[in-house]
């Protein structure tokens, strides 16, 4: 079985090595269609996202159509077909964060970064996504950047927070 440590080494791997690792993952999961979601999880861990070429590779290896793989992949918001930026910015739009102004923060993020939800800036520094309740309602509206939580954000704080990262 592929271990977590092996997946953690992906930063230093070449593309070819990543495909070899993914192939091993698929064999570990016995090429079963019912394991497709797990395989996609691992593929995203290895490549950071699941682009069309990786979808093709998985489909061929698991004897599925690309369309089938893409169908499952695009259903779940966890999976991404676009590369993530250096900083993954997520804003919570759960009920508490929403009523406390999460939507305005999101709009500010969109205009400052110049991208839509699910996209990455051209310089590959920021990507933007939306979450549904991260259990930090007391900190609403909450935002995370690479899993670090920023509490009670508002549109005026956005420039400063992002500026501190670059």
């Amino acid at each position: 079985m592929i271990t977590k440590d092996e997946v953690c080494k992906v930063q230093t791997m070449t593309e070819a090595e990543k495909y070899v690792l993914l192939k091993d993952v698929i064999i570990d999961y016995e090429k079963k269609e019912s394991n497709l979601i797990q395989v996609l999880h691992m593929a995203q861990a290895i490549f950071g996202y699941v682009p069309a070429e990786v979808q093709h590779f998985i489909a061929d290896q698991m004897d599925l159509s690309v369309s089938k793989v893409n169908s499952v992949l695009t259903f779940y918001s966890f999976f991404s077909t676009q590369p993530k930026g250096k900083y993954s910015v997520s804003i919570c739009l759960g009920t508490a964060c929403y009523v406390r102004g999460g939507k305005e923060v999101l709009n500010k993020l969109k205009s400052v970064l110049g991208i839509d939800v699910g996209a990455t800036t051209d310089d590959k520094v920021f990507s933007l996504s939306v979450m549904r309740c991260i259990g930090a309602c007391g900190l609403a509206p909450a935002m995370t950047i690479n899993n670090k939580v920023y509490k009670q954000v508002n549109p005026n704080k956005i420039q400063r927070i992002l500026g501190m990262l670059k």
């Binding site: 069309a52 093709h56 159509s65 369309s67 893409n70 695009t74």
Partner: protein, 591 residues
């Protein structure tokens, strides 16, 4: 047995029956939309919801099994209100361009709106999708009209095993089709058109070829020649209100003459020719297998008339392509002969001949674009129109189809035998081939009542037969006592089962017939809607009636075929045949 009450009627049905079926068997019709009996019953559209006493939510009757003591209401105030709301919500994301939609008045969404008395649209809002994919030569996908019923998903995955049509993304962003980066025309789509056949709205349709056909008909410099496939005559009548299974061969020939085609030929003629070529090819392979092992004859041989099946094979089983007969499909043969044999005979420049094939098939639209289907730079066939498209052209031309006299096909490519007629249905090509091959081998007529090989008929997925050869002619003495095993399947899932056997080296058969669409060409992707097993059976019976009505029912007894060999082709599998009537296949990628 289960006892329940539907609309205050006490009903007894077998366990496992759905509420929908129980109601139907007792003359209670529940409005429904995506339901297709035994094919698609997953409640995806929610139109068939009913109220079950004690249940909190309404239930989709097509996907809910009956329970003892259930009290069901199909027409309560709540059900009728909810049904309308569901319909209106569907419509809120559907363009209301009905007047210019090709499905106008032949649309299940319109029919449903009429049935449940919709008189207003209360919801208007954003439209979710606007992808129009015209990349395929066979099928156009207009996702703006898709109402996400998922029938095509079921057909493409469960029945055909192709797996191209799937839902992508979710919620309001959902669309159905190949994945985002894929185009139909560049995908593994086999062009079988079964998705087009089941689409209730205008989201999936055949690529129009009527416009170029009209253009050719109006072009005075062109000799425009039409040919019609065996299955068309058994279904075209449905477009003009005839009872299911009515043969309209004569009226169809008249209508084609009235449309202005210079010659009306019959693909059936080339079906007889296919039997001569394919039967000879089979006998040659068998002979080599039994007497010349060094030639590595490849058996089982598989029929090659169905272009949807061919493309499926090229994608999925590229290593098994040598099992395919090298014969072109009948209409391609006829096209090639029209631009050579016929052109020479009539002294017409083949460049000025425009050949139109009327086919029950959408995959034929792709087939004519294959580079192998060109001869001296000219396409064997210039346009393929489906049975539905022909129906539209006849109506558009103001031809009173029902009052036409019965016409005839033109000579010399119009005469056919009963063996050719049955090409239109599953099992037909095999039966036609065996009628000829058996006689060539033994010198005697095939020993079956009325020439029908009963185990190969009908709609079962895989059908097989054993034919024992006794006392053959001397040239085939090596076959004495041999049992020839044949198999027939229709629908690509069945094809995959037989091909997997071949791949594993455990296929017991010598000869296999495969048609891409379930039931064969009678329910091809270009046939009139709707299609279900009851309708397939009616069309199938019509095809066999056409066969039985012929005096000559064996391809090798078609006098015009014999004349063609005598005057032009020489012998089956000869040099000219190889040039005009045979083809090669292409290895394609799995995805």
């Amino acid at each position: 047995m289960i006892n329940l009450t539907i609309n205050n009627k006490a009903i007894q049905v077998e366990e496992g029956t759905t509420i929908f079926e129980a109601a139907k068997h007792h003359n209670i019709l529940i409005p429904h939309f995506c339901y297709m009996e035994n094919v698609h019953q997953i409640g995806s559209c929610r139109i068939c919801v009913v109220e079950v006493e004690g249940g909190r939510n309404l239930m989709a009757s097509c996907a809910t099994a009956v329970k003892e003591g259930m009290i069901v209401h199909t027409n309560s105030e709540r059900v009728r209100n909810v049904r309308k709301v569901i319909y209106e919500l569907m419509l809120s994301d559907h363009p209301k361009e009905c007047l210019s939609c090709w499905r106008n008045q032949n649309c299940e969404l319109q029919d449903l709106g009429n049935l449940i008395q919709i008189s207003e649209f209360r919801y208007e809002g954003a439209k979710s999708k606007d992808i129009i994919d015209t990349s395929s030569p066979s099928i156009v996908r207009d996702s703006s009209k898709c109402i996400l019923c998922r029938r095509c998903v079921t057909i493409c995955n469960e029945i055909q095993g192709v797996g191209l049509m799937n839902p992508h993304h979710r919620g309001f962003s959902t669309f159905i089709g190949p994945s985002e980066d894929e185009l139909l025309g560049e995908s593994v789509c086999t062009n079988c058109g079964q998705c087009v056949l089941v689409c209730p709205v205008g989201a999936l349709k055949e690529k129009d070829s009527t416009a170029i056909t009209w253009e050719a008909l109006y072009d005075k410099s062109k000799t425009v020649i039409v040919q019609t496939a065996p299955a068309v005559r058994a279904a075209l009548g449905e477009v003009f209100g005839y009872e299911l299974g009515t043969l309209v061969t004569g009226k169809m020939a008249s209508a084609l003459h009235e449309l202005g085609f210079n010659y009306v030929f019959d693909t059936n003629f080339a079906a007889d020719l296919t039997i001569m070529e394919e039967g000879s090819e089979f006998l040659e392979r068998v002979k080599n297998a039994f007497t010349a092992p060094e030639k590595d004859a490849v058996l089982p041989m598989i029929t090659s008339c169905s272009p949807g099946w061919i493309k499926f094979m090229e994608h999925r089983y590229p290593d098994q392509l040598s099992h395919l007969s090298s014969c072109k499909s009948p209409h391609m043969m006829l096209g090639a002969l029209t631009k050579t044999y016929f052109a020479e005979k009539m002294n017409i420049d083949p460049a000025n001949i425009f050949v139109v094939s009327v086919m029950p098939c959408t995959a034929k639209k792709f087939e004519i674009t294959r580079p192998e289907m060109f001869n001296n730079g000219l396409a064997d066939v210039d346009a393929v129109i489906t049975t539905r498209e022909l129906g539209r052209m006849i109506k558009d031309a103001g031809i009173d189809f029902r009052n036409l006299p019965d016409g005839e096909f033109d000579s010399p490519l119009g005469l056919s035998t009963g063996a050719a007629d049955i090409f239109g249905t599953t099992g037909g090509v095999m039966e036609a081939a065996l009628r000829t091959v058996y006689e060539l081998v033994t010198g005697r007529e095939f020993p079956a009542a009325n020439l029908h090989i009963v185990p190969l008929e009908g709609l079962d997925r895989i059908k097989t037969a054993d034919i024992k050869i006794e006392n053959p002619l001397e040239a085939y003495s090596f076959l004495d006592g041999v049992t020839v095993k044949v198999a027939v399947t229709s629908g690509l899932k069945g094809a995959a089962i037989l091909l997997d056997e071949i791949k594993k080296g455990i296929s017991p058969y010598h000869f296999i017939e495969i048609m891409g669409c379930p039931g064969g060409c009678i329910s091809g992707g270009g046939q009139p809607r709707p299609v279900n097993d009851a309708i397939r059976t009616k069309r199938l019976e019509a095809i066999y009636r056409e066969d039985e009505g012929k005096i000559v029912r064996k391809s090798h007894e078609n006098q015009d075929i014999l004349l063609l060999y005598h005057d032009y082709l020489g012998v089956p599998l000869g040099h000219k045949s190889h040039e005009l009537l045979h083809t090669i296949y292409t290895r394609r990628s799995k995805n």
